[in-house]
């Protein structure tokens, strides 16, 4: 009877292997964790069927941005990033709701298009349409 009581008192769990496994798991997570870039999205519309980049109804009021291999053209003038930024800022002051037509040549690099959309977003111009030429 006394021996039965003895074996039932204070059961001992072996902690050392459990701690080893727990530390292994921690090291795994410390090594695998990494910081990701923060991403964002820039919205744009594709033209409705039947419309073209040179539709007469939008020709007079819309802002035309041309994207080519050499860079970004605003109203048919090649611009540096700073000039383009300033140009869009001025146009945004006149009207933020103006239609912006972004016309891209097929061989233009994608980063110019994203740059153009980003600058338009910066000044609150969200009415963007993309045409391919």
């Amino acid at each position: 009877m006394a021996s039965k009581r003895k074996t039932m008192d204070n059961p001992k769990a072996e902690m050392t292997p459990m701690i080893d496994v727990v530390f292994q798991l921690m090291i795994f997570f410390v090594i695998t964790i990494k910081q990701d870039d923060l991403f964002c999205k820039l919205n744009a519309n594709r033209p409705a069927p039947g419309s073209s980049a040179s539709s007469s109804s939008e020709e007079d009021t819309s802002i035309k941005i041309d994207v080519g291999t050499g860079g970004i053209f605003l109203n048919q003038r090649l611009m540096s990033h700073a000039d383009f930024d300033a140009g869009i800022a001025k146009l945004a002051k006149v009207s933020k709701d103006a239609t912006v037509l972004v016309r891209c040549t097929l061989d233009s690099p994608h980063h110019y298009l994203v740059e153009a959309l980003d600058v338009c977003n910066k000044y609150g111009m969200y009415n963007l349409s993309i045409f391919s030429m």
Partner: protein, 187 residues
Amino acid sequence: MAKKPQTEDAQLDMTPMIDVVFQLIIFFVVTLKMSAEQDETIVLEDGKHGIELTTEELPPSHLMIDVSRTGRITINDYPKGGRGYADNIGLLTQKVKERVTRYGADNVPILIRGDIDARHEYVKKAMDACTAAGVWKLSFVAVQEPKGPNWQKLYDQVQGGKRRKTPWVGQQIERHKKSGAIKPSKK
């Protein structure tokens, strides 16, 4: 002679240590992010003024189309090999149509993740597939805040000589070096 005090084995109480270790494990389990496969060769352009991509902006119905600089078009890095959907753009249109039929055109955010040097004709293929499926509103993914991987990758590629350093790429690298987003690799 006085008895020497018996030296007892010092016992370390393990319970609080185990508690702290479990807390740390739970922290890492919660912060570990499991993300879908993507084309890892794509380097994104900066876009500080875009809408931040949060879980609300990326519902389960969203579709992220990757366009690499070689013209390879994939979704979650599939199809493997070749130029992906670029070789069969009808398949991409079908995939978008299925998603639109299931969730409705207004509930399927389409995001195009294009490489900085991808030609517009490749991006146009992806856009045309979306418009053929009845989606007119598209989004382009950009990096709002580079914390290392995107630009470090580009920097390493340029430094490693695997990629031509265009003047534009050079300017971006200099900008990110100044901001501390990338660290020069040791030679």
